[in-house]
Structures are given as structure tokens and as C-alpha cells.
Subunit: 214 residues, 2 copies
């Protein structure tokens, strides 16, 4: 695979969300103009992002919605299941264990881990809580690919190091701190504050005519 | 204020994060090339985004990091406090009440609301839990601007309608469903799945050389 810009990957995720909405609304065809408008980028950018992966549209006729949706799922690696664990079963970890939509794209919650002995052995939101000492064993046994890092910020780097040592290659970081991982391991931060800052921008002035989106 | 593209607002939030990191590292000057590289956009895009709001750099000399940081905070409306409430004190609402970094930009957690009488009157993570019946009164009394919507998906629209009726103009939506709000009210979705999908992309193939970011 060529080196794809991270911003292109982010936009592909956005295009897939838009195509899913169009497909659910039984729209059959779309265009780079429509995708561009919805994703708030230029049509040139849409075509350039897709061109990394091949030719999908027909000049003048646009894209087939179900075909492009299927192709984007394939490109993004969403046609196979991914096994997920939660590291840190505090309130946030427990909330994520309850979150209903992970299985929409075959993200399968397989295990969770905590250092608190009173939590170990419990079953929360459909997932068993294991001791952190069992991490290596459970990651192997359940072929866990991805971990949600939901521990306090001051122990997040240490917890990430343990995940990496246990063979985890993808981390969704909910801890409000920067985590360093070695090459070949991928980390995506979840930043609540970015959305809050955008709200502050929109709320400060005279109300613009347009909605931000939903 | 002119109509600013939502994608520009998102990028301004990213530029501010980069400038904050540079400023914390005591870097004094930067350029559109550096900001572009870090934000994964073109230098032309950086200059275009900033040009909506005035002239900040000097041709050939780039930008002063502390000045541009301060200007972006002003542009984004982050030089005044914003009063925040949490709607729905389930596990996610409670986790957010504990989240330590909201006050970094003067987001002040003023109240929380739940329909469960056993939660009302409690104090969770530094915030009082009120009955939803007290919403209008508390929003007025504490001048609440923004609400975190952390109720189950099936009641999220109804809860959003109540927030809007009570005078809330900004909603950070954690419920995994699309919420409609009237013109003049702003809603920002928090989508955990977008980060997960990006991880799936990076994990599927032979590991690229670069890290995704931290």
C-alpha cells in the first residue's frame, strides 16, 4: 500500500458515512460534487482522495452509491471483524462497554482490563473484566487487535506500553494526554475538546444562518 | 461575521492545538508550511483559512507563535468562559463529570440533569445532579450555554428538544444518533467510530513507516 495521507484516511471515513446515509435513503447515484458538499471539501479533493485507490466513477455519470460504499468499506478494512478490548474499566470504560454501535462495522468487544481487584471477574455491558496481569494471555486467546485506552492520564503511557508489549497494534486513546507508541503501532486520539471549541466559535457571534451539522 | 466553512473552523481548532504545543515547547516562530505539515493540509489551505479573519503573518518571516495562538483563541471564542451542563448522568455523563481538562479553555461545568430520582441531589465529579424538571430554571440561573447530550439514543431527540426549549444553543452530542435542531442552535457530534475506522485502515495492511499521530 502506498503512503496515504492521514487526512485522506479521515476524509474516506467521512465519505463512507455520507454514502451510508445516501444508501440508507435509497439514493442510487451520487457525484464528487455531492460528496464534496456534504464533507465540506472541494470536489477535486474527493476525486484526488479516491484516486489513491483506483477508478470508481464514470465521467458525467458519477458514482454508484452501493458500489462506492462497498469499495470504501473494503479500502478502510471494514469487511472483516476487529476484536477490541477496553483498558481501564472506570466510568468511561464502563460507558464504552455499554455503547451500542460498535458492532455496526464488526468491532467486537472481547475483553476488558482493570487493576482494581473488586472489578476483576465482573461482567459489565456484555464484557468480562480481567486483571491486567492476564493481558498477554487474553490478547492472544481472543486475537485482540485494538484497545480503548480509558485509564487516568497519569498512568496512560504506562498502560499503553503494556498494551503494545502484549501485541496490540491499534489504540483509541481517550486519556487526555499525548501517548508515544513505537513504529508499526497506531494511535488515534478521541478529543472531546475539539467539538467544544467548534461550538464556542459558533456561539460567540451573531447566529449564522446555517446549522453546523448533526 | 462572514459565513465561514465548517471545515475551516475544524482546521482552526487543529491549528490552535499545534500552536499550543509549539508555544509550550517555547518555539517562537512558525510558518504556514509547518502548520500545514502538522495539520496534514496544504500551506495554501492554512493561509486561506487564516485569511478569513485578517492578516497574521509577515511574508518570509512567518508567524509569531504566541501572537497567532492568542489570535486563534480570540477568533474561536475561547477568551471567555462557557458554562456547560450534562444531560444524562449515566456512566458516560458521570465519566465526563470526572474529565479533568474541560477547564483548560474555561469550559465550566455548572450542572447536570437526570430523570432518575435516585441520582437527583447527588454530587458527581464536582457537579450537582438536578431533575430534568429544573432544566429551564438552572439554565437561566447559571447562564448555561452548552450541554453534553449523554442520554440513550432512543430518547436523545426528545432530550435535545428540551435543551433547546430551555435556551441551550450548543449541544455536544454523544448519543449515537442524528439529532435535528432548529436554526440558531449548533450541534457537534462526538463520533468514536471515526477513530476506530481509521485504525482499521492502518491495521489491515503491511505496517506503513509513519505513525498516525498521538
Amino acid at each position: 500500500m502506498r503512503n496515504i495521507p492521514t487526512a485522506t484516511v479521515s476524509r474516506l471515513v467521512t465519505y463512507l458515512r455520507i454514502l451510508t446515509d445516501l444508501d440508507d435513503a435509497e439514493v442510487k447515484r451520487t457525484s464528487s460534487d455531492v460528496l464534496a458538499e456534504e464533507a465540506q471539501v472541494s470536489a477535486f479533493q474527493v476525486r484526488k482522495d479516491l484516486a489513491y485507490f483506483g477508478r470508481f466513477g464514470t465521467r458525467g455519470a458519477g458514482y454508484s452509491v452501493p458500489t462506492l460504499r462497498r469499495e470504501l468499506r473494503r479500502i478502510l478494512g471494514l469487511t472483516r471483524p476487529w476484536n477490541v478490548a477496553i483498558m481501564g474499566m472506570g466510568r468511561l470504560g464502563q460507558a464504552l462497554a455499554d455503547y451500542p454501535n460498535f458492532d455496526q462495522y464488526d468491532f467486537l468487544l472481547k475483553a476488558s482490563f482493570d487493576t482494581d481487584p473488586s472489578k476483576v471477574g465482573q461482567h459489565v455491558g456484555g464484557v468480562d473484566v480481567y486483571a491486567v496481569d492476564e493481558l498477554e494471555e487474553r490478547v492472544k486467546a481472543s486475537s485482540i487487535d485494538i484497545a480503548f485506552l480509558t485509564v487516568p492520564a497519569q498512568v496512560a503511557q504506562q498502560a499503553a506500553d503494556r498494551l503494545v508489549a502484549a501485541g496490540i497494534r491499534g489504540i483509541l486513546n481517550f486519556a487526555p494526554t499525548v501517548i508515544n507508541v513505537p513504529a508499526g503501532v497506531f494511535i488515534e486520539p478521541v478529543d472531546f475538546l475539539a467539538g467544544l471549541k467548534r461550538l464556542a466559535f459558533y456561539l460567540q457571534g451573531p447566529a449564522p444562518k446555517e446549522r453546523v451539522g448533526a
